[in-house]
Structure formats: C-alpha cells, structure tokens
C-alpha cells in the first residue's frame, strides 16, 4: 500500500507539472504582443509598458514559468490585471458557493442514480426498467443549460417555489436563503450528471448479476434479488467509486455553465468573466486550481478504491 501510495503520489505530482506547463504555455503562445492584446487597441505605449512590467514579459519564458510555479508553491497564484485582487483570495471566497453547489449536485446524482440504476437492471425485461433506461439515455443527451432553463420554468416561473436566479448578497449569513438559491442549480447538474451515473450503475449491476458468485448464492436458496443485494452490490459500489473522479470533473464543467445561467457568483462564473476580459493571470490561476482539484480527487479516489477493494490489497502484498 505504501509503495502504491508513493507511486500514485509521484503520478499526481507529474500530472500537476504537466498541467501547469500546458496552462502556462498555452496562455503565453499568443499571436502578437500579449500586453497589446490585454491593453486593447486604444492603450497608450505607457500602459503597454506597465502591463509588460506587471507580467514580467521581458524575462525569458522559462524564467517566467519558474517564477509563477515558485509563487504557486508559496500559495501565491498571482493577481488580477484589472483589479489587482489576488487570485487565491478570490478563489477561496468563490469556493464558498461552488464547493457546496458541487457537493449538493454529487449527492443528488448519487441518490437518484444509485437506486434507479439497480432497479432498472433488475427489471430490465419489464416496462419499468425499459422506461428508466430510455429516460436515462435521453437525459444524458440533454445540454445542462437547457435542463436548467426547463427547471426554472417549472419551479420558478410556474410554481414560484424557488428563486430563478441569484445568491443572497450577504452570502451564508442566512443559510436557509443561501441553500434555497442552490437547490435548482444543484438539481440541474445532479439530474444530468446522475443520468450518466445511472447508466453506469445499471451496466455494473447487470454485470454483477451475471457473475458466478451471485448465481451460486441464488442456488443456495437466496432469491436472485437478495443474492444480488448481498453479494453483487458491494461490487457495483466499487465500480461507482472508480468513476467518481470523472463525475467530479463533469460537475465542475456543469458548474461553469450553470453558475452563469443562475447568476451564482462562484468559481465558474469567475472563470467566464476572466476569460472574456482576457485577465490572463486570473485565468491561469483558476485553470490550475480547477485542474489540481480534479487530479487530487482522482488521486484520493484511487487510494480509497485500493483500500476498500480486498482483491487489490492482496495483489499489492
């Protein structure tokens, strides 16, 4: 286990390095002058010079990169070109919306995909199972933005039970109001993300149902459903854990779009704003933070999987 952890840790570190290199150099490979581009066509030579100075553009690229990475390692992700706000501070503040939104979305996805996925596998030959299967296949094709719009129409416009947009100005000081404004966005991401998870749970369950150990347990007097629940579901759970990393990446992407639709001041909206404004230091910090988060989740998921799957433990010993 220790050997595996160290190896996986090295892979995580390598992943972070590759990510930082790709992000940094993509944002630097500009056609023309970065400073000119950021400043716009109306900027004076002095303004351009100031931007060059701020971004340290006259240093060699490799030195700029090392400088940036050095800062990142000290917790300094850089500062906005437009407002001077430190990226790390703003990220931490916006995470107060995006993290709960993501957690809530994931919870909804799991709650809805788990049971329905198993049921649709158990009843695959009946009408119910087919309806769930076709429904999940269709929902998985729905664009997240549009799913959000439809939920707004139903819950905010027709029934008026939930806010259509926005987040309380004073943040979490009124937890009830803050939570209410996260319900629809989380439901949107949770349903679309859950539809994909459902298809995965369904196929994992079908696979488990075909396994010898389930058949043996059934032949020893358990009903097939009980045999599946007792012996098959732990295996289904294991395979669900392996795709959680992918799910988290999907939720982050969903949050970028959904925060825009629901005017939630989270990390996704911040990224959209900064990409539009070409605030490169901000974009650079945000992309690195998001990628690092995805890689970190993948790392934790792999370790947890290793810990809870006895087969993997034995092969490691």
């Amino acid at each position: 286990m220790i050997r595996y952890t160290l190896m996986r840790l090295a892979l995580l570190a390598a992943g972070l390095v590759v990510a930082s290199v790709i992000i940094f150099f993509t944002l630097r490979v500009l056609p023309g002058d970065v400073a000119q581009l950021i400043g716009g066509t109306n900027s004076t030579p002095e303004q351009i010079a100031a931007i060059r100075e701020r971004l340290d553009l006259d240093a060699p690229l490799a030195a700029q990169y090392l400088d940036w990475v050095g800062g990142v390692l000290r917790g300094d992700l850089g500062a906005s070109l437009l407002t001077g706000t430190p990226v790390a501070a703003e990220l931490a503040q916006k995470a107060q919306i995006t993290l709960p939104l993501g957690a809530l979305s994931l919870t909804i996805a799991l709650l809805f995909a788990g049971p329905l996925g198993v049921i649709s596998a158990l009843r695959r030959a009946r009408l119910g199972g087919t309806v769930i299967g076709v429904g999940a296949q269709t929902l998985a094709a729905v664009p997240v933005v549009w799913a959000g719009m439809m939920l707004v129409v139903v819950f905010a416009v027709w029934w008026g039970v939930l806010p259509a947009q926005g987040f309380p100005r004073d943040g979490w000081s009124d937890p009830g109001a803050a939570l209410r404004s996260l319900v629809l966005p989380a439901l949107t991401i949770g349903i679309v993300e859950g539809a994909m998870l459902l298809r995965f749970v369904r196929s994992a369950t079908l696979q488990a149902m075909g396994q010898d150990y389930v058949r043996t347990a059934a032949s020893q007097g358990l009903t097939r459903t009980r045999a599946l629940i007792r012996h098959g579901l732990p295996n289904v759970g294991l395979s669900v854990v392996t795709v959680l990393g992918l799910q988290v990446a999907g939720i982050i992407v969903g949050a970028v779009v959904i925060e825009q639709l629901f005017s939630l001041p989270g990390i996704g909206r911040m990224l959209v704003r900064d990409v539009s404004a070409r605030d490169l230091p901000m974009v650079q910090g945000e992309l690195l933070a998001l990628t690092a988060f995805v890689l970190l989740v993948g790392f934790v998921v792999d370790l947890v999987h290793r810990l809870i799957d006895p087969r993997q433990r034995e092969s490691a010993a």
């Binding site: 269709t138 094709a141 729905v142 933005v145 994909m196 079908l206 149902m209 075909g210 779009v257 995805v294």
Partner: protein, 297 residues
C-alpha cells in the same frame, strides 16, 4: 473485410437503438443539406411586427424577439452543428490515431511516456480546454472544434492504443512481418482495419460531445458569433425571455438533445455491432457494457 462489413451493418440495423441513431444522424444531415439552399424564411431577417408569434401555420415553431422564424434559425443552425461535428471528428481522428501510434509502435521508453501522458491528458475536461484557448484567441467556432478535437482525440488514443498493441502482437501480424511486409504496409493493411471498429465508435461519441460543446460554449459567448445561426446562440438569446415566453426555449433544446442522442445511440449501436465478443452471447452481456460520456455543456 467486405463480407463482415455487410454483416455488421445488418447487426446495426437490427438493433432498435442503432436504427434510431442512424435515422437521427441521417435526418440531421438531410436538414443541414436542405438548409444550404432553402429555409422557410430567411433566418437573419427581423420582422418586428411579427415578433413572438406562437407556433402555427405561418411559423411552425413561432418567432423570436425580433420576429425571426425559429424553425428557419434551427435549420440554418444545423449546418453549424454538422460543421462543428465533422471538424471536431477530423481533428480527433488525427490527434487520436497519431498519439495511439506513438504510444504503441515506437521505442519502449517513448511509448511508455506517451501512455502516461495520455492518461494525464484525459483528466482535462473539454470545456476547460476550450476556455483556455478562448482566453488567448477569443471565442470562435474554430476554438470549439479544436478543443473538442484535442480533448476527444486523447480519449480515442487511450482506447485505440491498447487495441493497436494487441493487434501488433497477434499471430497474423507477426506472420505478415515475417513474410516481409513493410511497416507501413502492415499498418494500413492489418493494424488500422483492426482498430477501426473501436475507433469509429469513439468517433461517433466524440461528435455527440462536439454538439454539446458547441451549444454550451456558444451559450457562454465563446462559440459561434451572435450573428450566426447556432442552436447555442439561440438558446442564450431566448433565455432573456424565459419567464415570458418559456415555450420558445423548448425548440433549440430539443434539437440539441435529439442530435446528441442520435450520435450516442449510433456509437452504442456500432459498438454492439462491431464487437465480435458480443456476437454469441445474449442481450444482457451486450447491455452490460456502457460508456460514460463526459458532461461538456
């Protein structure tokens, strides 16, 4: 090869999901072709007097805030969708097969490092790649095409690389090499045809991703220009009137969903039809395998 190709066509067309996929994709192509020379109205012409007409005989799906015919915009927008899907497919193919070949056919240390690199790159979500490129070059359809192409190309590489390795060590390829076939002849005659099934399936799924990405990025303002007919742009324009005219938003969303569903089903059907291991076993084994598509937009 031609005999087995006819057989997998038959298998594809005997599977309800596969047929649905084929029909939807063909319908999309037909609509896009038709829209190049005919739409009921000009999709760009505003008619303020006729704004927000409900669905009816004159305007099948109604009109928008400036009186443009929604059906015409959707038809013209299908051309954007098809162009993005094809463009992304071509780039994904190039990136995917090159990476797969680098990761399978080169020197040991090159191919091992390419394999690790592929595993890392897979973690990058397509939308983040697109935002990264947009921050530099500004948003455009080209950015959508490139980011989906690169993002999904890595996926194709991840799936095709082990397949290439497997075929490379199979007896018939070893025999072909021993009988003096050159590396290139081997690649085109034996390796690529054998990887093709896996690859075509991925390609179909990558087009579904491309359609979602175009819609999502155009919605965020990083895709098609607002003046172009595009489903994503239409979605964002209609969003402003969501509370007043909720029905109008239905149409672009349905168009996107149907198209994505079509490419996904086509991919599923192709996978089931081309995978020889699924042929003899029953339906449950076939349905027990599913791909987990990436949420892009």
């Amino acid at each position: 090869m031609s005999g087995s190709r006819a057989a997998w066509w038959r298998r594809l067309l005997s599977d309800p999901a596969g047929v649905t996929g084929v029909v939807i994709v063909l319908a999309l192509l037909a609509v896009a072709a038709l829209a190049t020379f005919w739409t009921p109205y000009d999709p760009q012409t505003a008619d303020v007097a006729g704004r927000w007409a409900g669905p009816g005989a004159a305007h099948l799906l109604g009109t928008d805030a400036t009186g443009r015919d929604i059906l015409s915009i959707l038809m013209a927008g299908s051309r954007t969708t098809v162009a993005v899907a094809i463009g992304a497919g071509v780039i994904a193919t190039t990136v995917g097969l090159s990476l797969a070949a680098l990761g399978a056919l080169t020197h040991r240390w090159v191919r091992e490092s390419v394999a690790v690199l592929i595993d890392m790159l897979v973690a990058f979500p397509v939308l983040l790649i697109a935002m990264m490129i947009s921050a530099v070059w500004g948003g455009s359809l080209a950015v959508v095409v490139w980011s989906v192409g690169i993002g999904f190309g890595v996926n194709i590489a991840r799936v095709s690389r082990p397949e290439l390795r497997r075929v490379l060590h199979s007896d018939f390829v070893v025999a072909a090499r021993a009988s003096g076939l050159s590396g290139w002849q081997n690649l085109t005659r034996h390796l690529l045809p054998n990887v093709a099934p896996v690859f075509i399936v991925q390609l179909s799924w990558s087009m579904a991703v491309a359609v979602l990405a175009e819609a999502g990025l155009s919605y965020l303002g990083f895709g098609a220009p607002v003046t172009d007919p595009s489903w994503g742009v239409l979605l964002s324009q209609l969003q402003q009137y969501l509370t007043v005219y909720p029905l109008s938003v239905l149409w672009p969303g349905l168009a996107i969903t149907a198209t994505v569903l079509g490419f996904n089903l086509l991919g599923d059907g192709l996978r089931d039809a081309t995978d020889p291991t699924l042929r003899t076993r029953g339906g449950s084994a076939r349905r027990a395998r599913t791909h987990l598509p990436e949420v892009v937009a």
